[in-house]
Symmetry: C2
Amino acid sequence: MAGSCFAEVLSDLVELTGAEQAALEKLEERQRTVRRGAVLQRENEKCGELYVLRKGLMMSYVLLDDGSRQILRFLFPGDMLGVSSMIYREAPETLAALSDCIVSPFDRSALSDLMTRHPRLSAMVLVYCQVERVSLTDRLAALGRTSAKARVAALLLDLRDRLRTTDKSVEDAFQLGLTQEEVGDATGLTAVHVNRMLRQLEEEGLIARDSGRVTLRDERALARAANYVNRFEGLDLSWLPRPA
Amino acid sequence: MAGSCFAEVLSDLVELTGAEQAALEKLEERQRTVRRGAVLQRENEKCGELYVLRKGLMMSYVLLDDGSRQILRFLFPGDMLGVSSMIYREAPETLAALSDCIVSPFDRSALSDLMTRHPRLSAMVLVYCQVERVSLTDRLAALGRTSAKARVAALLLDLRDRLRTTDKSVEDAFQLGLTQEEVGDATGLTAVHVNRMLRQLEEEGLIARDSGRVTLRDERALARAANYVNRFEGLDLSWLPRPA
DNA sequence: CGGCCCCTTGACTAAAATCAACGAAAGTGG
DNA sequence: CCACTTTCGTTGATTTTAGTCAAGGGGCCG
């Protein structure tokens, strides 16, 4: 199996040259499986490698002193994992697999080399990180200023959009590969309250549920309730340097 | 007035070459003043330039549909503003001045050029953005999983640390250049509740207040209450490429 | 079959928001 | 320089939102 998952994400943004594709494929030469529930990197432990997620669903989270968990981000195929760990001696967050996964590990220096040799890819890595950053600020605003229901709605919309980038067959229904506790840890709620919010969304006809499968029945109303924006849209990359 | 504020931030991390310093100074050739309360960039409007903040205190925020505001970040001298706006047609956040400020505006293409010509600076811009990203995730965890008191304590510690990087004379006391409403919009609380939390911190002897000036009286206890980490510490940049 | 994990629901509690009022301080305009 | 307005901080009373505690049910796995 060849091809670079990260390159696929980037090639939605610009047309890559052969040399650029080759450089990205080199990052994903190696492969490794990660079992559901396994931890790839643990918070406060020495930083290891970086990864590209090739297959499966992962998450990054932090644990607070009182034992509570905040899920920072869900990770989908094509996502680059552990970029922030690259810059620290100790990892600022834990990376764990929510399903059986395949990742491609690579070294800090590999990314450093790539950035030196391919200035345009370097800029695109920055773009990718900024998209992530803006998504984080969306979630920050959601946690700070929106209701429990809005946060759950936003999470559902976001999950659907992210799943669709990999699997075009996803339309308005998808398997929610998360427990309600995980949804709670992502939205800053308790599992009990997540349950109530899902029920409420269901009663209002905004979603339907059937054994872990969620259907978005009224996307317009959900998006309105959630203040949701897909941050992979509306990009302007006209300023990118010419390919080397 | 010469010298690059952003270069000063970076030179705390590695020793810059003359060429690198010159390149960074070029970004800050121009200067512009911004009045207290003025807006440099407005959410959803066409993205303009990027900036380096040279002097003063600014903030970035978003407004939600119901009119509530979430402050995403406070900006200090040496910070680069609007990097995320660079990649979008429309700005994802508003940039506003909390005090009279001086900024150096520059063009997307100027940063793009710099990244092409100076691979190591390119990597350092990425590092800078990742520090910002990790700080955002700290705040995300604070909003999602910590009490009102802890959030206010964390904000005070963070402000102090950021002020100290510019002004070494700041020890445990500083002018809180924010209204309680602004503190609330940053921490996801109401101004009224912020007031009560400040009072409580004061009553417990963790801080003292006098006409807008805050003194941290028990930093240890504050940091414990707040789960606070200074993200400019603990970096490992040994992987950075050689300077060009 | 039994145990565990996850979902569900009700009753109750705690945390933070809301509403309202007032005083002090800081600008503003004559 | 003074009257006026506005902003900001403070406080109490009350309401709303979400958390906590507890119990039971369904499905899956060993």
